[in-house]
């Protein structure tokens, strides 16, 4: 048991946080580029260490901590995403100057929360790890404290986040009250007994409140209002973290909850969730259209809400096919989103205000072919154009929904894909056909070029050869 704990990603991440604080005290003058490279290397090592645990399937720490393929897969995913987010943050470090250590340790803490979340095996650990992510993100969102937009984003995120976590906690207390346990496994048997009765009990109210708390994390329909403002105001690396790690952690928690704690939903629940998915799809995809010509990060927030809708569609299927589609879609969405955010920070090397208006991207292809091409691949993947991986993700989701016989939901999904094509292709037109305001070419370092090539190739590779990833995902469920 001790060897499992010492090799788990969490132990490593805690050591990283402590080391960063120690370095803050002893080596305050270390170059920020060095810190960034060190942290990236450690994350890569932790990823490899995490993979050595592959195959273990056990419960630790008095059944509070579950180590299995699902948890290990997502921990690897978060660590890899963390590496790319540190690369995005590496471009932000001149703005940070002295406060670089705190910035990196807060990112590490948020990743730690995500890693705990996918291993959670009771409601208290679930809640505490969600709070670890959100608390770090409250501070990170407000991190650029000379900018009023950053402060505003932090304030909004704090108020909405604290409200939803209180709701979730109230729900957990009801679940605890009716089942007398907070363990997922024991709750499951209580749920199966109670869901046989048609009446609405305290347990159902509790579950609704918990789902509302997770709905806030994944920005599903009635809880999505914070997303555009926070995405726009937060420093760009933090926005990338919100869009990739925080959202996928929410979906992983949702899957864990359904697979372990509730053991399936009946028709009423499925109808409710289908309505939420449809509303999320429509809100995100229709809301993105007026953002064309506005702010790039705000636009990505709306398109991100739309993607949460597709992921929820896959969630509703409640079978292996649906979960497989969900995880595949998440991985592909993460790769494309990280490419776009890396492109966004590199387009504006001065980092003067981090506004990132759409007009800054006009004629990007002429200014930097590498950036132009990367945006092209990533946006086509998000839009779901073959042969990019995003197409196959959407195909899997719609296929899973149709095989469950939910034709209306599949139809809404197909219509919103058509809507999303309109605005994504508009962005591509902006990058390819429009005349740039500022014709100076953008220079990209060799490391970043290599990263872009890897990300682009993986998007194309996963679109053409889906089998290896799908095979891996099938093992996790």
């Amino acid at each position: 048991m001790l060897s499992l704990i010492s090799r788990s990603a969490e132990t490593g991440l805690i050591i990283v946080v402590v080391a960063l604080f120690a370095a803050r005290l002893t080596l305050p003058r270390l170059k920020s580029g060095v810190v960034s490279k060190l942290v990236i290397t450690v994350f890569a090592l932790l990823f490899l260490l995490n993979m050595t645990l592959w195959g273990s399937k056990t419960l630790l720490l008095q059944d509070a901590f579950r180590l299995d393929h699902f948890a290990l897969f997502f921990k690897g995913f978060f660590l890899l995403a963390g590496i790319f987010i540190f690369m995005i943050a590496g471009h932000f470090q001149d703005t940070l100057a002295k406060r670089i250590y705190e910035f990196y340790s807060l990112f590490t803490l948020a990743t730690l929360g995500a890693c705990f979340l996918v291993s959670a095996n009771n409601f208290l650990v679930l809640f505490l790890s969600i709070e670890l992510i959100t608390f770090s993100l409250y501070v990170l969102t407000t991190y650029w404290r000379t900018q009023i937009t950053s402060i505003e984003a932090g304030t909004k995120y704090l108020v909405v986040g604290a409200f939803s976590s209180a709701m979730m906690l109230f729900g957990i207390s009801f679940i605890y009250g009716t089942t007398q346990t907070i363990n997922f496994h024991d709750c499951r048997s209580a749920f199966t007994v109670l869901s046989a009765q048609p009446s609405f009990t305290l347990l159902h109210l509790g579950l609704i409140l918990v789902l509302a708390g997770i709905g806030f994390k994944i920005s599903a329909f009635p809880f999505q209002l914070w997303a555009p403002d926070v995405y726009q105001g937060a420093p760009t690396p933090v926005t990338a973290f919100l869009a990739v790690v925080s959202k996928s952690a929410g979906f992983a928690a949702l899957m864990r909850l359904v697979l372990l704690a509730t053991g399936g939903w009946n028709a009423v629940w499925i109808l409710m969730l289908a309505l939420i998915a449809a509303a999320t799809l429509l809100y995100g995809n229709l809301g993105a259209i007026p953002q064309l010509g506005g702010n790039m990060k705000r636009f990505l927030a709306f398109s991100g809400i739309g993607h949460a809708g597709y992921l929820l569609m896959a969630m509703i299927c409640q079978n292996a096919q649906g979960y497989q589609a969900l995880i595949y879609y998440l991985v592909v969405y993460a790769i494309a989103t990280l490419t776009i955010f890396l492109g966004i920070v590199l387009t504006d090397p001065s980092q003067s205000d981090m506004k990132h208006n759409m007009s800054d991207f006009q004629g990007l292809l002429a200014r930097s072919p590498m950036l132009g091409f990367s945006f092209f691949v990533a946006i086509l993947s998000l839009a779901g154009v073959p042969p990019m991986a995003g197409f196959f993700g959407k195909f899997l989701v719609i296929q899973a929904v149709i095989e469950k016989g939910m034709w209306l939901l599949a139809l809404i999904g197909a219509v919103t894909i058509a809507i999303s094509l309109y605005y994504y292709l508009n962005v591509i037109k902006l990058i390819y056909a429009d005349q740039p305001n500022d014709t100076s070419s953008i220079k990209i370092g060799f490391g970043y070029q290599l990263t872009f090539i890897c990300l682009n190739l993986s998007l194309i590779f996963l679109g053409v050869f889906q089998a290896p990833l799908l095979h891996l995902i099938a093992k996790t469920i």
């Binding site: 505490l128 407000t142 402060i151 304030t155 704090l158 209180a166 009250g177 346990t181 726009q232």
Partner: protein
């Protein structure tokens, strides 16, 4: 007269509703933070009530964790309120509503 579990739950539900209303209607950041505290304390009350009537100590342990979480949340919230005050000379949430569209 003995208090039943329902009595505690009704008080807890009312406290939660008061807190939720406060978060939604108040414009002062400190008041919003206090309302969130009321919501979290409503949760504590329901955890402890369930725990003592169910003869199970898990709920009380959870309440301890909730107290710690609430303290962290307020610490971060006050830090953000200080930042808002420094830049806007007020802690009204109306002062931070530039992001729109």
């Amino acid at each position: 007269m003995t208090l039943s579990l329902e009595n505690y739950l009704i008080v807890s539900g009312m406290l939660f509703a008061i807190g939720a209303l406060g978060v939604m209607t108040r414009r002062n950041l400190i008041m919003i933070l206090l309302s969130i505290e009321i919501m979290l304390n409503a949760v504590n009350l329901s955890f402890v009530a369930f725990s003592s009537y169910g003869d199970n100590v898990t709920g009380q342990v959870s309440a301890l964790f909730v107290i710690a979480i609430a303290a962290c949340e307020v610490a971060i919230g006050l830090a953000i309120a200080v930042l808002v005050f420094q830049s806007q000379r007020t802690i009204s949430t109306d002062a931070v509503s530039r992001l729109k569209g």
